[in-house]
Symmetry: C2
Subunit: 242 residues, 2 copies
């Protein structure tokens, strides 16, 4: 299985997603939040790249309007229903609802891989489930780390490396340079916990704004079997689509 | 010592080099060639970003014209005096001469850090010398990996990690996420040799065009004490400037 990994979205060539299954990783926190939302019974999440687009999207609904979710500089957006803390996304708040979500790095990375054969979302919580889904599909893989402000984020590279290692455990893998860097990072650091995530740049920034409590959910390896997949209607559980 | 590392030039913020000593790394091959050229007695190397700029620069000389050096897609440029193989840069060819050099990734990375307090060039050959120079200067460091076509190159990240490890051996280091990824890569892979470099994407590309013989020089850790520094007149030995 051919596995390319882009350690930051800016490395991505325009046509590179074509013919590949893309996996977008934003451990702190968009990927974790998306998995939590679908686990909590949200029907779908529509990722958009601005607060204005989120509001437009919401206004276009005739019936029950979608919940507006997301962050800017880590904090909830004024007038939105939910922020980007995975802890907020429980059945009581999001069950059976449509969500529109905009985050600084994660939703932008999703935009960049639209041309892929399929687009999945991975975080530490669903590592094993995503690895199984990739093996099942058997296509070349393109892992894209969302990073922070266009730069490499250790949390995402770490998660990418663990994912490639998982793929390697179930069959042969041909990693590119980016995937090899990610794998060495994961091998060197082992499995993360909340304390280790707090020492990454994204984790430290979260602690500084008082949201360090999110890191327990972000660090919880293999706590979910949910594989979010991007479709024309937004992010839905991959199992619902062939 | 605060050490930031950008694993590809696109991650670099515009004002980020300010107040820092920048270190540009392009192991295969621009950095290695620059070190070899100065070791062979070249007076200076003027990095330019195009073959046209190289020719204009050469035409501006009144006396002995500079040698034109560089590559496109790894191969020598038609009409130029030398390619980008470090093996070509010996005293007989470059001693006491001015050189104008253009390479795909290395000289472009140099352009992007012009605002730094100082700009040094590192490769595996001069790791220890560059680490000593950085300690002597005692300023915050910005390591920039040249990569390949805007993407991460394992050879450069590996070298960056070895450099940060060297800095860590002579005093405390505060690495950012990028530096931590590079350090884990270097720790996991150990010290490179020509065979290991041939398994990186840049190394494999070099082998494919018949220039794999360059990799011995690229892989030769600590074989030089030369620290190239970028000045208004081009790249010169750092020891010549305060």
């Amino acid at each position: 299985m051919n596995v390319r990994t882009r350690l930051a979205p800016g490395e991505l060539g325009e046509t590179e997603p074509q013919g590949r299954v893309a996996v977008v990783i934003d451990v702190i926190r968009a990927s974790t939040t998306i998995v939590a939302a679908l686990d909590a019974g949200a029907r779908r999440l529509v990722p958009v790249d601005s607060t204005e687009a989120a509001e437009r999207r919401s206004a276009s609904y005739d019936d029950v309007r979608p919940l507006l979710c997301g962050e800017r500089e880590g904090l909830p957006i004024r007038g939105f229903d939910l922020g980007n803390s995975p802890r907020e996304f429980v059945a009581e708040s999001v069950g059976d609802r449509d969500l529109v979500i905009t985050t600084t790095n994660g939703t932008r990375a999703l935009e960049r891989v639209r041309g892929a054969q399929a687009v999945l979302v991975a975080c530490l919580r669903n590592l094993g489930a995503v690895a199984d889904e990739l093996r099942r599909r058997g296509r070349p893989v393109l892992v894209v780390c969302a990073g922070r402000g266009g730069r490499v984020g250790l949390d995402d590279v770490w998660c990418a490396g663990l994912l490639v290692e998982r793929l390697g455990a179930s069959g042969p893998v041909q990693p590119d340079d980016g995937a090899r860097v990610a794998m060495q990072t994961a091998r060197g650091l082992g499995e993360p916990n909340a304390g280790a995530l707090a020492r990454t740049e994204a984790g430290a920034a979260l602690v500084r704004i008082g949201l360090g409590g999110d890191l327990d959910m972000c660090a919880s390896v293999d706590s979910s079997r949910m594989v979010p997949m991007l479709t024309g209607e937004g992010l839905v559980p991959a199992g619902l689509r062939p």
